[in-house]
């Protein structure tokens, strides 16, 4: 469960990236966040995992009330979330297996459990045979699948994806979407910021459109553009 209540965010350079955001996302929902560049999508995403702190307002992620938590509690918030980025953010010096295992070692899981879990998520994204390969030996799509495997390794209830298909060709982007939808079907909430109109139009889910830091559309099974205006 994600809840934004009257959330404002003003950066030091006076840019207002969130202007009274009021959003509720239930557990298990699939939400696209769309809007032009600089509209405030990334700020919205970053505030969820507390990379950015709102100027005012309340954010609730599961049982964490973000305006109340202390800095030392932030890691525990992040363990409830999986995050996937456009640029994958894999560690080049670690193998595929180690990259995924990393997320579990950080939360001090037992090695036996780590091995079991990593093998499971790698087979889930279809890369079980690439465990000993280094990221730079893989294609972009494969790297993104590793990043997704890492994000879901500790079974987060929410998966946040910031332009996960941004660097990928349409076919590969589709493969990634397959995987993300499969994760969603297992009950994980998905919040995905994207510019990819064909994906949003083909795979219909709730769409939240942000512009100038405001929600200008919140539509169930919506398209990339507001189709109601065309009627």
């Amino acid at each position: 469960m994600i809840e934004f209540k009257h959330v404002f965010k003003e950066y030091d350079n006076k840019v207002i990236a969130a202007n009274d955001l009021n959003i509720v996302i239930d557990q298990g929902e699939f939400v696209y966040v769309v809007g032009p560049s600089g509209a405030g999508k990334s700020t919205f995403i970053k505030m969820m995992y507390r990379e950015e702190v709102p100027t005012s307002g309340q954010i609730k992620i599961n049982e964490f009330e973000l305006e109340k938590i202390k800095n030392r509690e932030v890691p525990f918030l992040r363990r409830e979330l999986g995050v996937v980025f456009q640029d994958f953010k894999l560690l080049p010096k670690l193998t595929v297996f180690e990259n995924v295992a990393y997320a579990l070692q950080v939360i001090e899981k037992e090695p036996v459990e780590v091995k079991k879990r990593v093998e499971h998520v790698l087979s889930l994204v279809g890369l079980a045979d690439k465990a000993d390969v280094f990221p730079n030996e893989l294609s972009g799509g494969e790297q993104q699948r590793i990043a997704i495997a890492r994000a879901i390794a500790n079974e987060p209830r929410i998966l946040i994806a910031d332009e996960p298909t941004g660097n990928l060709d349409p076919k590969t982007a589709n493969d990634i979407m397959e995987i993300i939808e499969r994760i969603n079907k297992q009950g994980t909430t998905i919040v995905m910021a994207t510019h990819n109109s064909s994906i949003v139009n083909e795979r219909k889910h709730r769409v939240i459109e942000i512009d100038d830091g405001r929600v200008i559309r919140d539509q169930k099974k919506g398209g990339y553009k507001d189709e109601s205006n065309n009627l």
């Binding site: 992040r78 953010k89 560690l91 950080v106």
Partner: protein
């Protein structure tokens, strides 16, 4: 922290030392130079302390007895001196013995003054409980009957204590300054290695690593740097000290003063250098992490 996690941190810190190659060497060098200077300074300070305490124990008042004083008068004087509060011990030294000391120090020519020509006095060598009491005791002794004069190493002792105090103060000051500089150097060196691993740290934070978890490998890396950086200074200080000790001991042999013998002293100073190395390494490293762990 779980044992498995600590093991992971240990392995990570070693890997990182290797991975950072020349930067690690730069950090070692900072520790090495610092510890070398600190080790030498410490050796000097500790030996100065030792000699200072030797001197303190050696401070005495020499009460010169009037010539022609009878045995009974001498005994009375001794009693009087012993009656003073601050006196610890009194030793009689006859003028023949005094002459022998002079001959021993200055040469056989002084044998000319033997027998009835001996111009020296019989002496009571008075030791005080506390070195600072020598002045007062000498003054009181001078006022007593049958006393020709009372001498104490006052001026030279005072001067010496001043020098010793100076060495202690400056040595400690310089050591502290050096340690501070070393922490700064190490912290900067490690900061550069951290900069290149910024991405890694941000990913660690993203997947929910606590600051402690992120910090430990770096702190251990700093501690390793300190430990390895201490090796060369230990070798140099140990060999150097044994050598200097050999030379100086020979010339101090005829005095009541001596340097600390290498055995236990070197063990202590080696342990101290290792400890200081590890601590400044870990602190330097920990400091450089702070900026990157702000959430």
């Amino acid at each position: 922290m779980k044992a498995i996690t600590f093991k992971r941190h240990l392995v990570e810190s070693c890997k990182s030392l290797k991975r950072n190659g020349w930067m690690s060497v730069a950090a070692f060098s900072a520790v090495t130079v610092t510890l070398l200077l600190v080790g030498v300074l410490l050796s000097i300070i500790m030996n100065v302390n030792k000699i200072a305490s030797d001197i303190e124990n050696d401070v005495q008042v020499r009460v010169l007895i009037d010539r022609g004083t009878s045995q009974t008068q001498q005994a009375a004087l001794r009693k009087k001196l012993a009656g003073l509060d601050s006196v610890r011990s009194i030793k009689f030294s006859s003028k023949e013995r005094e002459l022998k000391n002079v001959v021993g120090s200055y040469g056989d020519e002084f044998k000319l003054f033997g027998g009835d020509d001996n111009p020296l006095n019989d002496v009571f060598v008075v030791k005080t409980k506390n070195p600072s009491q020598t002045v007062a005791v000498a003054k009181k002794a001078r006022g007593m009957k049958d006393v020709y004069d009372a001498k104490y190493g006052g001026a030279s002792a005072k001067k010496l204590f001043k020098v010793v105090g100076g060495i202690q103060k400056w040595g400690t000051g310089i050591s502290l300054l050096l340690l501070f500089v070393a922490v700064f150097l190490i912290s900067n060196t490690i900061k550069i290695t951290i900069l290149s691993r910024r991405n890694e740290i941000s990913i660690m934070r993203l997947v929910g690593a606590t600051n402690g978890f992120i910090r430990w490998p770096f702190i251990l890396e700093g501690a390793w740097t300190g430990l390895f950086g201490a090796i060369l200074p230990i070798i140099v200080v140990d060999i150097g000290y044994v050598w200097v000790h050999g030379i100086l001991s020979a010339s101090l042999a005829s005095t009541d003063y001596s340097l600390l013998s290498p055995g236990v002293f070197l063990f202590q100073i080696d342990a101290l250098m290792i400890l200081i190395g590890i601590i400044i390494g870990a602190i330097g490293s920990g400091l450089s992490m702070r900026k990157f762990l702000k959430i």
